[in-house]
């Protein structure tokens, strides 16, 4: 019983984190066709940002979160303007530009914080005991914030004019342009939203994890798996895919021997099995071949 609750808790948390990351990633992919490898690197930078504000400057963690989100979003926009925008026509070049960007961010963090393991105090202290399992308030908070953000995002995409512009650009860039949508500006805004989401994820999840410069690698892989599993550009797909993989990972860790090593393998194998049956992902629409 205890183990089941453990699995549920840890599956919900990692599922929410993957969902937030995957939605941001697939937004910018849909609108600008950018495979942003540096997406989780921004998540890592946000986590370090909070560390500085709370530990080095001694502010309340809340201010750390706000500062992290604002600064990282700005950073994302600036790096988009400088490195990615000029070479957007060359798909391969954009790809390695984002890889190089992620590597550069990782190295800068390693230089400043010397690669040691760090941790950050949680926003709300304490825990409650449900059926003999400790559930920290921070875990509940992370989960609730994730759900709230996804709801806000859904409203933004489905009910506002900006959301309409983003969705139509994702569907067909040229036609959206002809309809008077400033495609470059939509791409820029989407980049802002996407990086902001990554920063927010970093901000809510950092008290639960350990900070180190390589912490972006594992979420990156899982995020990509989620996006492929759910179907590129599908919000619902990312949401479902994230929880499926989150729970798969959690069950492997708690149930299988040597589980900690196999968690990535099992989650990714599930993704490949699903793709064998549905090549366009769970909720993806099979687009007509782009020629």
């Amino acid at each position: 019983m205890v183990i089941v609750l453990d699995i549920i808790m840890s599956g919900l948390i990692s599922g929410s984190v993957y969902a937030l990351l995957a939605i941001g990633f697939s937004l910018i992919f849909g609108v600008a066709r950018i495979v942003n490898i540096a997406h989780t690197a921004f998540y890592m930078v946000a986590a370090y940002c909070i560390y500085i504000v709370t530990h080095k400057m001694g502010f309340h963690p809340m201010w750390g979160m706000v500062a992290a989100i604002v600064l990282v979003t700005l950073m994302g926009l600036i790096s988009y303007k400088i490195f990615i925008n000029p070479i957007r026509e060359h798909e391969g070049a954009v790809l390695i530009a984002t890889i190089a960007l992620a590597m550069a961010l990782q190295e800068i963090m390693a230089l400043i914080f010397t690669g040691t393991y760090l941790s950050v105090p949680s926003l709300v202290k304490g825990y409650l005991v449900i059926l003999g399992v400790k559930v920290f308030y921070q875990q509940l908070l992370t989960f609730c914030v994730a759900l709230l953000v996804m709801a806000v995002l859904w409203v933004l995409l489905m009910r506002t004019k900006l959301g309409l512009a983003i969705r139509s650009t994702a569907q067909d860039r040229e036609v959206a342009n002809l309809m008077g949508i400033n495609e470059a500006r939509v791409a820029m805004m989407t980049m802002g939203i996407s990086v902001g989401l990554a920063a927010l994820t970093g901000a809510v999840v950092v008290p639960l994890t350990i900070l180190e410069p390589h912490m972006w690698m594992h979420p990156l892989i899982m995020m990509m798996a989620v996006v492929v599993l759910g179907g590129l550009g599908s919000l619902k797909g990312s949401f479902m895919g994230a929880y499926i993989l989150g729970f798969a990972e959690a069950s492997v860790v708690f149930l299988a021997p040597m589980g900690a090593f196999l968690k990535g393998s099992v989650a990714l194998s599930i993704m490949i099995l699903v793709l064998l049956i549905r090549p366009e992902g769970l909720f993806g629409v099979s687009f007509e071949e782009e020629r």
Binding site: A97, A100, A104, V266, L268, P279
Partner: protein, 346 residues
Amino acid sequence: MDLILFYLRKLFTVLKNEVLVLPSRVVVVLFFLFLLLLPMFTKDTYLLRIFTLTSIFAIFAASWDLLSGFTGQMNFGHALFFGVGAYGAALLNLHAHIPPWGSIPLGALGAVLAGLIIGIPSLRLRGTYLALTTLAFPIILMGLVFAFPDLTGGELGISGIARLARSRVADYYTAVVLMLGLCTIMWKITDSHTGIIFHAIREDELAVRAAGINTTRYKLLAFCLSGFFAGISGGLYAHFMRIAGPSTLEVSLSFTVVIWAIFGGIVTIYGPVGAVFILFPLLEFLRVVQDYRTLMFACVVLLILLYMPDGLFRWLRDKIEKECPRCKIRNIATRDTCRVCTAPLD
């Protein structure tokens, strides 16, 4: 005697009329000569070691280009082939006592098998889906490596493998000659009938299928060929470093090979090879500033991309050579008229 003279004269004519007229061909000949003659001038083991590793990775980068550049099947998990080649060669050498000249090709055959296994599910995917899915395969294998440490050595890897050759210089020649040979073979493949079909699959798969060509078979062939060459480089690496560890399967290796290939210019074969010969030694010589070297590496890549998004070597080649508008033959940029059909060049 006459026969030798005849061949000498023929060689001279070819050199004069085919090689010396184009700066890029001169550079390639100089590159071959430099690599083959380097140990005559220096016996510095550190330098030879760097160039041996560079050659091994050059094979690896070129094999990525064969699959992802030419056929357009974006592979983000190319380290899988490298790792399977390395582990295969290491296990065969350690347990079956097969010497390197046997274990490396057999390990590469293992990589071909891996190519088939990942090729079959990947055939239904295209573009970004394929790229993100292939990323998963080396990670799955890495999980298995860690989960069965008895066979694979877990985190420490398999050590105590036989040396590639008896001395450093012999190591160097093995790697360099294999690199030059295999890259020439890859370049010939991309120039052949099969290579043209690979090109066409990248440009428009539907049209190729409409022309009555079984694209599935050709895509699988590309996966297997690329897996074979990458597997050979993996085996060479294992025997040269005398260890096959999980670092051969890492995500960063898959990313690095993408960086090398795109930096040099994809769909060229010579681009990735040249890029490895610039970037890998550069990373080694940046060792004096140990802490900053990955950062500087990333910055160099970012800056060069801003100015030459098509890759360094394509950019260079376009600067020193022009294509004749009438007969499509390349000419040195200083000429006013084409060297074959005398059409004016613009």
